[in-house]
Subunit: 330 residues, 6 copies
Amino acid sequence: MDPERRFINQLMAGQSVDQVFLVQDKDLRTTKSGGLYVTCTLVDRTGRISGRMWQASESIFNSIPTDGFLHVKGRTEDYKGNLQLIIEGCRPLPADKVDLADFMPVTELDVEQMWSELLEILRAVKDKWIRLLIKKFVEDRELVAAFKRSPAAMAMHHPFIGGLLEHTLNVARSAKALLPLYPKVNADLVLGGVFLHDAGKVAELSAGTSITYTDRGQLVGHITIAAIWVQEKAAAVAAEADAPFPQRTLDLLQHIILSHHGVYEYGSPKLPAIPEAYFIHYLDNLDAKMWMTANQIAGDPNAEASFTAYNRQLETRLYKHSGELGDEQG
Amino acid sequence: MDPERRFINQLMAGQSVDQVFLVQDKDLRTTKSGGLYVTCTLVDRTGRISGRMWQASESIFNSIPTDGFLHVKGRTEDYKGNLQLIIEGCRPLPADKVDLADFMPVTELDVEQMWSELLEILRAVKDKWIRLLIKKFVEDRELVAAFKRSPAAMAMHHPFIGGLLEHTLNVARSAKALLPLYPKVNADLVLGGVFLHDAGKVAELSAGTSITYTDRGQLVGHITIAAIWVQEKAAAVAAEADAPFPQRTLDLLQHIILSHHGVYEYGSPKLPAIPEAYFIHYLDNLDAKMWMTANQIAGDPNAEASFTAYNRQLETRLYKHSGELGDEQG
Amino acid sequence: MDPERRFINQLMAGQSVDQVFLVQDKDLRTTKSGGLYVTCTLVDRTGRISGRMWQASESIFNSIPTDGFLHVKGRTEDYKGNLQLIIEGCRPLPADKVDLADFMPVTELDVEQMWSELLEILRAVKDKWIRLLIKKFVEDRELVAAFKRSPAAMAMHHPFIGGLLEHTLNVARSAKALLPLYPKVNADLVLGGVFLHDAGKVAELSAGTSITYTDRGQLVGHITIAAIWVQEKAAAVAAEADAPFPQRTLDLLQHIILSHHGVYEYGSPKLPAIPEAYFIHYLDNLDAKMWMTANQIAGDPNAEASFTAYNRQLETRLYKHSGELGDEQG
Amino acid sequence: MDPERRFINQLMAGQSVDQVFLVQDKDLRTTKSGGLYVTCTLVDRTGRISGRMWQASESIFNSIPTDGFLHVKGRTEDYKGNLQLIIEGCRPLPADKVDLADFMPVTELDVEQMWSELLEILRAVKDKWIRLLIKKFVEDRELVAAFKRSPAAMAMHHPFIGGLLEHTLNVARSAKALLPLYPKVNADLVLGGVFLHDAGKVAELSAGTSITYTDRGQLVGHITIAAIWVQEKAAAVAAEADAPFPQRTLDLLQHIILSHHGVYEYGSPKLPAIPEAYFIHYLDNLDAKMWMTANQIAGDPNAEASFTAYNRQLETRLYKHSGELGDEQG
Amino acid sequence: MDPERRFINQLMAGQSVDQVFLVQDKDLRTTKSGGLYVTCTLVDRTGRISGRMWQASESIFNSIPTDGFLHVKGRTEDYKGNLQLIIEGCRPLPADKVDLADFMPVTELDVEQMWSELLEILRAVKDKWIRLLIKKFVEDRELVAAFKRSPAAMAMHHPFIGGLLEHTLNVARSAKALLPLYPKVNADLVLGGVFLHDAGKVAELSAGTSITYTDRGQLVGHITIAAIWVQEKAAAVAAEADAPFPQRTLDLLQHIILSHHGVYEYGSPKLPAIPEAYFIHYLDNLDAKMWMTANQIAGDPNAEASFTAYNRQLETRLYKHSGELGDEQG
Amino acid sequence: MDPERRFINQLMAGQSVDQVFLVQDKDLRTTKSGGLYVTCTLVDRTGRISGRMWQASESIFNSIPTDGFLHVKGRTEDYKGNLQLIIEGCRPLPADKVDLADFMPVTELDVEQMWSELLEILRAVKDKWIRLLIKKFVEDRELVAAFKRSPAAMAMHHPFIGGLLEHTLNVARSAKALLPLYPKVNADLVLGGVFLHDAGKVAELSAGTSITYTDRGQLVGHITIAAIWVQEKAAAVAAEADAPFPQRTLDLLQHIILSHHGVYEYGSPKLPAIPEAYFIHYLDNLDAKMWMTANQIAGDPNAEASFTAYNRQLETRLYKHSGELGDEQG
């Protein structure tokens, strides 16, 4: 992140601005006196502000990118109670000249440290073939690089750069903590399954200047994508080992991926049929809900209300003060 | 089929029998006088009959296979209104000595002729890559042999040897007939999709002496299996062509497979998102329902009732005389 | 249609206008200087434009109809990026002086030709009573005239003048094409059922200056209306033939109508209980979905996105490029 | 009812029997010694008993009707703890020689008295057209005779001869009692709607020797049948009055019938859209539930249990002692 | 209510105003010339109006309460077709200086008279313990005072001061009217259950300056709250009587409360399992629907349409003229 | 348990028996020769066996209890492949003379040890009021004794003596293991909630000679029962502390109990609205599913099948070999 940057949620009226924004939409309009001016929406990862450039021309308008970056010089002012940015000069900027983390929500944790911890947890796998399969994934540099960057969802939970890794690590930690309590559960299948369950998100979601579904993500989906990857990597493992990858292991890992949403309605083509699939389903769900509740409560705009706005996914409003027992009288 | 064979649904009391049956279960029991006798259930593809062997021994009992074939000599008799078969002698028979078609329900149509007609319809595909992909499937001898034998379902529709081919051909014929009426629909995607939509049944179902799910069928399912096969065959096509298989074509064919059940509840992880996916969904469903209604009506045991027994899948009873308008007075 | 007419979607800033519009709403407002002006929304079948008349009076305002026609003289101009129409003079016009097809969406096909083709297909009916019943409907001039004009739905599919006929013909064509593939299906019931299945829409929907439900449409619905009509026409046939209309034929035709939505949730009081009812249900649904997908894709405003906006009925977004295999690289 | 008759639920071992039974099924069997004997199930409205005739012949067997009446001479005996009837002689009897009320469950109330009370309640209708419509129904002798005999359902509630009238009267009484509390509700629509809401049951159900659905009942259903009858009777009223039957009144009465099940899932093609439709929906439902709960509790076989067996329609077991507060200690 | 007050729905442009309003939100804005002005929304129980105070200051702005009362002097004027109130002077007012009935919707009926009638109906209870339990509730002054004030719901039905009492009385009247028709139903349980079924609303809802959920209402809900109150009051009764409160009576009263929503989906943790629970469920529902339909029809803004806007709870639009048979031609 | 006892699942033909059984049902029958004999079903916690006593009398028959204990002398024999017990002498036995653990399924773990561990985990609660509340429960000797004995369900999971404690401890252990990973979650609420979430089972279920619902269990249910207990115990705590129990703490603990089933359909009147409620919901569900899957797999009768029979709760069949990776070839 650019340490000098003044983020949008920190701007106040009457400041000079000389930095980059992401342009989300733009319009060329005519003033009553017949002149031209540009309006646009400028965003960074903390919010959005309305931009306005007076005495514009069509060529200036055309030079402003949509869904691209713009270096802006200007000043902020209050307009009917809202802040707007009067643009005095601007020039487009290629994406590789900007620090994307200024414009996209991003994990607050250290990605490499999370990755190391995840690998450390996976080291507990004893089954030879699952070890080899995980290794094949870990050695796929391109995939690992994407895995570290990928969000875990468009909006539901962990929708930010690094979210997939953060979520996967959380579930892995939970699995590590609970496996000793359920000794009959096959720990190797669980750990392998945790690692792979959402891996297909890497190809389902694209995180350029915003998080969007890829065409393949919408048409095929992360569940099937991950099942296919497991098939391909297992074939590669078998080729190297010069022995067939055990069918049962392959079937069960794919089954865990295919059933981890728990019910058909959420796109799982199979219902959990082994204890390990339930195990992952609940820990996955738990981590998602912990993020969703915390995020909804933290982001609720109405400070006075004791409940958040209605949450469609959770089908309820959330109470904001469960962490503050005994505070109510004070 | 053995032309000499007297099928179970043709047997009457008082006949001699000297032929093979499939044994479904067996029991060794004690008579009141302390002797031993064997009871068993003998089946062929037309029904089941109760067998009884008096003055048996444990070694005879042990020689009788369960879920295997038994050559039986004996005679039929009426017992409390039901036919039973008194076994006078018997010997087990390996499966390769019997004509499986006598014991398993099997398509009444000519398999090779159906296969030729299906290939003929697929020849209309113009897109180079879909042609190559179909070719890859058709050249996979093992898969084709299994495709020709596979049922289309455990019980729902076309649950017999050759049922998958019969159903696939029916849908292909319907598609061929309707595509001219919907010229905007991409005929190549439809024809490729029809061919592939249920192909995974080949690995989902096993048709030995009865139709059962394979482990992989239950854990992974024919929808995901087919999506994986398309991925693998497309990779093989690309390798041969020394060019990448077009991503969009791959995505759309997999999407058609993944969405062809139409709703999540029936195990589709994706809802149809292109006209071609709807097209196949409805023609597939139509053919299944035509089989289910015809089969339920034909097999209804109560000749006098004008409605069949309740059908769980269809959530209703079926009226049996829609084909006989004007017959009611006569 | 008026060949001279410049449709709203063709207008540009700076043009003179001298033609009829449909007025959808109007408002009389005061300028800051205390004068009066009129704002209104003018529509034709291609879109809507904001109208504004300066220096208006209450009597002018009162002369402008709501949901009626207005001949307008004026000129177009750009206001904050949107086109508006400055009205210089106007006079109301009765509906019979305008070509309604300019104001309502209307089938692009030849109505009489469609009607002939439909009758031609119905000529294949062999059952005497179904023939007579169809004849009774066809001889009801008022009903036929309304049938040719009626839309097939408010919004779901074929929501335009002539839509019911276009949809009915499509289903009839599909039935004609598929019936040879399912020889056990009673073709007479299917053809009669196709003709009648949506006939009640004629009384359910009203297409004056826009498509709306009639009171009877909302309270009773097209399914019951059609079942009642069949009862009445069958009584008339029987009276002429001096013989009772066969009960079974009557029951089955009404059953097809009552069950053609396929599930209770969509207002079918009966589930399909004969093969012919399923047959019509799927072909009806197929034609509706082909229209809905094509229409959603064609009308999607965002040219750059590869998916349309979310479609509530289909519960998904649609991919727009299934017709363009291989185009993606170029 | 035959006052001499000893009903099946009163029979004990060792009694002579000389009376009529309804035969439900029969079988001709061979004894171990090669002789023939007949087994059959004999029923009356209080239960069923197993019949056995030794030393039978095929001609005797053929003379016994199925689903018909048989005059039986014989004696009862205990067989393995169950009563059976040893038939010594028998002869078939036509249905018109027996009192059906001995064999079918029948209302315990006076049918004519109920009918009078119902008409008395309907006399409160003030609207001329609804009065005339009710009159048309009441003057249809055949329909009224059937209405008085018809059950209200196969099994759900009031499944006995006269049940439709009993239920209709109950709902009418409730309506009469509650209408004063809701003065804005249109009492004429309510009373007309109550009378007609289930009238179609007359043609949906057949109550010969047992209650069954008619073909028309299963294919078309009582809801649509009643809507059609209203249409026909209204046309007759209009013809006599030489004036059109008011469309709104017709629409609303049909709407009440079409929506009285309250939700699509129970076969209502329309949801209630007027207060009167809700009014009837709840009173109808209340009366059905009062019968179902009373009947389930009264008929529960396990005297010691405080809850009945699980009731599928009600999705629960019923507590049997809500009428006995304070009795628990005693 | 203040008899002098001119309610918002009676105001016209050009009037002087000197009275109290409830302030719902407020904003301090800058004019183009740099001055400050206040905008706010003023409401009373008949509607809302936009307020505007020119030449304001921050201290004036701060003196205006949010969700509190403001005495306003000023005048109305028309602004772009909408009325607005130009505030010339204002001062805040504590809630105890205003007549809340001017600002909150309130029952139009006499609260004390309703309460007397309810008690009169409850006097019919014969069971000693239910009588004592009701007495305990009635003697709880604080609870009774709140009961008389409480709305019956946020928005669904009877959402106004006194609504709970009005609704409870309606259901009690209905029960009184119908109990004679169902003599097997335990009238004491029904009357006690009617009184208690919604009593928990008193603590679920708060009706200060608007109707809102309390924290306890959202977290625990009126159903559980009422069940707890019954437990507490029964314990108090038992203590006074020096005898245990009969367990069965306690269980059944709580059961009625817990099951009165009828289905799980509406928050009933138990399904009705006694006739009395169904009895209350239907009468409760009937009264709610009578209010909802009447209110929706009365409040529909579009006078010309024969149907109201879509009602989400009822999942349909309502027909507005079921009370006017025969009026349609006139 | 009686160490001498030979459990039913260990009996073989030809053994002498002299021990106690639980009688489930009994019947007095007549032999063909006119003598009397008794049949009955004898059970212990390992299974059931058919008992038969020849040359019985009515007085002997009457002396045999139903759902009571019987000391039996006799011998086992094989009858048509099933074991039966020929009773030579018998006498009834009061329940307090038998070790119930021989007849009811019972936890295999040490109850006191589990209780200590649970208390140890609860010791981590820091909030004063939750500590006091737990203490109130723990000091209620009768309740604690019952808590230690109670099953966790009729059949779903942990349906045996001590099952509630075993399940509660499992969830407490999981909570203890996962709480460090989610530091924002209020650990005190979670621990208190885990302890209380199923406590109402103590009064919902009765475990005499078999597990059954109590009347209060069926009418009110464990969820509401627990909420009431919390209210009562909190009142007692407040009385002792001479200070009001904090409302928020009370509301939230009750909310956790009321919402812990997660969805309305399973009898939760509230959906989770705080992170702690989700936390408990998932860990509760996880433990239940781990028991259900392990139990279903362990108890599957068909050793050869790789899948269990269909499980209604889980809506699938379970794969039995997920614990045996790599074993398939051997």
